[in-house]
């Protein structure tokens, strides 16, 4: 490994923290989705770096591969919902979408 494992883990930790802040503070639904992508990518970095140092390198990369695919799926459905909401509520601000049934 070119750089010691701890540094990469710290990097992904900070990335995860930033993503968490984003999810909690963003008012715009798409902003939240962007932060969720950040979280998933932080996790991916961990997986890949661990696969580099573990006995079974295949597991880490495969897991990261599946995480990327699923993130794409999540983003697709999430954004479809956002578009549907925008069409009916004419807004994507999360704190304006509170009624369970309209």
């Amino acid at each position: 490994m070119i750089i010691p494992l701890e540094h990469v883990l710290l990097f992904s930790l900070i990335l995860f923290a930033i993503g968490m802040v984003g999810v909690l503070t963003r008012r715009n639904a798409i902003g939240i989705l962007i932060s969720i992508e950040l979280l998933l990518n932080a996790v991916n970095v961990n997986l890949v770096c661990f696969s580099r140092v573990s006995e079974d390198p295949m597991a880490g990369q495969m897991f990261a591969f599946f995480v990327i695919a699923l993130a794409a799926a999540a983003a697709a459905v999430g954004l479809a919902i956002v578009v549907a909401i925008y069409r009916t509520r004419n807004t994507v601000q999360t704190d304006e979408i509170q009624l369970l049934k309209w």
Partner: protein
């Protein structure tokens, strides 16, 4: 070639630094379009880190899938939902302080844990495991991980149809 090692190390640390700055940008920028582009930059830096660690295939898939696919989706939605960057709309709600405290607590708790545990399964000492080539990934995908691969296929198919049905404009009902 220790000097080259040093150069690559600088490169990787540089990438990480840029990644963090871009991530902060993605979270805090008021104009959503700029936030989306900052996220694209984060994804490219992470692909760079993957490649520096030797997972070239994964880095390329990351760029192809994330930057090519998901980013386009995000920007399309931003364009469709139009009224972005409207100055009066506050981008962040008032939970800023609480979120910062929570994240800070999280980092201060986990960070030292990482640093304290010295004995990571360091295989570095004896022999660096052979770089995974695309053939091994392909073979394992088809042999060891074939079940999740097929389930993933079915799932993506369902997502495809679901997204279209949800976002369709001329709803028959």
């Amino acid at each position: 070639m220790p000097q080259l090692e040093f150069l690559i190390k600088c490169g990787v640390y540089g990438l990480m630094g840029l990644g963090i700055i871009a991530a902060v940008g993605a979270v805090l920028l008021p104009n959503l379009f700029h936030a989306g582009l900052a996220l694209a930059f984060v994804l490219v830096t992470i692909a760079g880190i993957f490649m520096s660690v030797g997972a070239e295939f994964l880095g390329m898939v990351q760029i192809l899938l994330y930057v090519g696919g998901v980013m386009t989706l995000i920007i399309y939605t931003i364009m469709l939902t139009g009224r972005l960057g409207a100055k009066d709309v506050r981008a962040q709600n008032r939970q800023g302080i609480f979120a910062a405290i929570a994240a800070g607590f999280f980092v201060c708790w986990i960070g030292p844990l990482i640093l304290k545990t010295g004995a990571w399964p360091q295989r570095e000492s004896d022999s660096a495991p052979p770089l995974l080539s695309v053939e091994d990934l392909g073979m394992s995908l088809m042999t060891e991980y074939v079940f999740p691969f097929e389930v993933l296929g079915v799932l993506l198919f369902a997502v495809l149809i679901g997204a279209i049905v949800i976002a369709r404009q001329d709803r028959p009902s």
